[in-house]
């Protein structure tokens, strides 16, 4: 199946658009091999932004998506879900990080735009080779380990235990309570800590 790639260049408000000429990047993307359409949009991660992608997938028969926006470490999962909800395999998507690794770190607007183009071109070339992948599932062991029995450990352990699940609460010291046990009254209510 020939790739029909949709490229979405995010303004991220002014976060990206103030430094990078997003229209120019979209225009550049249109000329890349396999690209069916390229658009720039205010906030691609917003609901209307995601709807735009979903509609394009259906109406324009897109089969690969490139999103030039923030770091994939932030929104890769978000956009994978967008694809899934449009019945496209979530792994047929690539992100070009033109915010954290381009707009925010480059002084010169022209050079930033050039770099953004390069990052988009890399993503477009890569996405053409993307294959649908199946996520496998494994059973979830319902037991939980909590390491450290201070305030946080005790609180978390009690919450989970309350739901009827088993918690192993491991504490290095001979008794629990951590630093909290050493305190008398605590601010601002001045009640006792235990």
């Amino acid at each position: 199946m020939e790739p029909r790639i949709g490229v979405y260049v995010c303004h991220c408000g002014a976060n990206i658009a103030a430094t990078i000429d997003v229209e120019q990047v979209a225009e550049f993307a249109r000329g890349l091999e396999g690209v069916a359409l390229a658009k720039d949009y205010k906030f691609v991660c917003s609901d209307p932004g995601q709807d735009l992608i979903k509609n394009d997938i259906k109406e324009q028969k897109l089969n690969r998506i490139v999103i030039a926006s923030c770091s994939p470490r932030l929104h890769e999962l978000t956009f994978r879900r967008t694809l899934a909800s449009a019945d496209l395999n979530p792994y047929l998507m690539e992100m070009a990080n033109i915010r954290e690794q381009c707009a925010w770190v480059t002084e010169d607007h022209e050079l930033a735009t050039e770099k953004a183009k390069a990052l988009v071109s890399a993503a477009v070339r890569k996405v053409a080779y993307d294959q649908p992948l199946e996520t496998k599932e494994a059973p979830m062991n319902p037991n939980t380990l909590v390491v450290g029995a201070g305030i946080a450990g005790i609180q978390a352990a009690l919450e989970i235990a309350n739901s009827g699940n088993l918690v192993y609460l491991v504490e290095r010291e001979p008794s629990i309570g951590g630093h909290m046990a050493q305190l008398d009254k605590t601010f601002p209510t001045l009640d006792c800590s235990a």
């Binding site: 993307d130 201070g150 305030i151 946080a152």
Partner: protein
């Protein structure tokens, strides 16, 4: 704390440490070492006779080194579990082979000098790290004289001193037993200081205010000084608490203390500790003579946070605390799926924030439990059996032992459940037989060409 003990869904292991973690989200295997208490937890009734009879003492770490405890001890009266432990480094039986007083007097026969460390293995689906913080050791700041002057105390020491079950039964007193008539509380000790910790420890402002309230309650005519850089009373009800302390008549001096000295220059400084600062709102140096100095010591990462991080594959931020997946959007998750963090191990925070974060971590775990299954990384590696030459190069490289060798077919095989998709084997395979899904060689080459346009 008592509810932890009584909760049948909590298996409490005190005096125990995690020594090894393997597996992956949904299916971790954890090895735990139970250190010997030399007291049988099941038999001990917590009567306390052993501690009364034990003739040997050591500094009480629970009281921040101020009081003493016995060689067999429970750290404090309401300890959970209420089972003592024997300190091998102090106990005469372990040092010289005699005494055994505790054993003789224990009616429950709970003393067991033969106990050894035990290892248990548990299977869990998720892990929450709540290892807390260490209190900053102020003795490294020489000008404050902690450890040099008797009446300079750390924040934790003051806590213990003001605690009814502490070494002075809650009495605020100087080393000579007398009552202080004036106290200076020094903020930001070890915090907001590039020489020690650059970050703000977040709790010291408020506990310093609390200290002045406690002093005022116990010694109504005491003169109290707060030496601060900025007062950060940002929480709900905190600014109101500050107002209350102001009304109580505490002296607020805006200036960081530079030094504590006992070198008197005038008669009314004789025998006192003098705090040197600039009252920055006046623009003058001030010498404030007081009986007692309390150092509002900051919070720092546990000394062994590095080892903990390694064991659970956590990252640490520049300040040494464990790194959350995202500071705003994912403050309880870590880079390792199924491992969460909460409380001060992630960064200094107060009790309300700690409880909130711990509840959040519990919620994350519960949502995984209620789903009942976990998704495994799809971008993993597979071996193309047609191409694999059976050279076994990849076998030793895999950090997870996910690659086995199929002797019959003479090819490598990757266990999908164990593979995490790092791609080290892909890079190493001399015949190019391993495909790193989603990061295939042709994909990366395409990217290289792409960035070089």
């Amino acid at each position: 704390m008592a509810s932890v003990r009584s909760d049948e869904n909590i298996e409490l292991m005190t005096y125990s440490e995690v020594v090894d973690v393997s597996g992956y989200v949904g299916n971790f295997k954890v090895k735990i070492r139970k250190n010997p208490r030399y007291v049988d937890e099941d038999k001990c009734t917590g009567c306390g006779v052993c501690q009364e009879k034990c003739p040997f003492k050591a500094d009480n770490e629970f009281d921040a080194g101020m009081g003493q405890r016995k060689a067999i001890y429970t750290p404090f009266p309401q300890a959970v579990p209420n089972v003592p432990v024997i300190d091998r480094d102090v106990c005469a039986y372990f040092l010289k082979g005699k005494c055994q007083a505790c054993e003789k007097f224990c009616e429950a026969n709970a003393i067991d000098f033969e106990q050894t460390e035990k290892f248990v293995e548990v299977d869990v689906g998720s892990i929450i790290i709540t290892t807390g913080f260490d209190s900053f050791d102020p003795s490294v700041i020489a000008p404050y004289g902690y450890g040099r002057y008797d009446n300079v105390y750390s924040g934790l020491q003051f806590e213990r001193m003001s605690n009814a079950s502490g070494p002075t039964d809650g009495k605020l007193q100087l080393k000579d037993g007398s009552q202080p008539k004036s106290v200076a509380i020094l903020h930001c000790v070890g915090s907001r200081d590039i020489n020690y910790h650059e970050y703000c420890s977040r709790v010291c402002c408020m506990y310093s205010l609390k200290f002045s309230h406690i002093i005022g309650e116990k010694i109504p005519d005491a003169e109290i000084y707060q030496l601060y850089i900025d007062l950060r009373c940002f929480g709900k009800g905190y600014e109101e608490f500050y107002n209350r302390i102001q009304e109580e008549g505490v002296n607020f001096v805006r200036g960081r203390a530079a030094e504590v000295t006992d070198l008197a220059e005038t008669a009314d400084e004789e025998g006192k500790l003098i705090v040197l600062c600039e009252d920055t709102l006046i623009g003058r140096q001030r010498r404030i003579p007081v009986d007692m100095v309390v150092l509002s010591t900051g919070l720092e990462p546990r000394a062994d946070a590095g080892e903990t991080a390694k064991m659970f594959s956590l990252s640490r931020s520049a300040d040494g605390f464990f790194l959350e997946k995202h500071p705003k959007l994912d403050p309880v998750a870590t880079m390792t799926d199924g491992v969460f963090i909460a409380g001060c191990c992630q960064g200094p925070k107060d009790i309300p924030d700690t409880v909130a974060q711990a509840s959040a971590a519990a919620a994350r775990v519960l949502s995984m439990i209620s789903k009942g299954k976990v998704e495994i990384e799809a971008a993993i590696s597979v071996v193309d059996e047609e191409i694999c030459s059976g050279c076994k190069t990849c076998l030793d490289l895999c950090p997870y032992g996910a690659i086995t060798f199929d002797e019959e077919k003479s090819v490598a095989f990757i266990n999908e459940a164990l593979c995490k998709g790092c791609g080290t084997c892909v890079a190493a395979c001399p015949s190019g037989a391993i495909i790193g899904k989603h990061f295939t060689t042709e994909q990366i080459l395409a990217q290289i060409e792409g960035v070089l346009v």
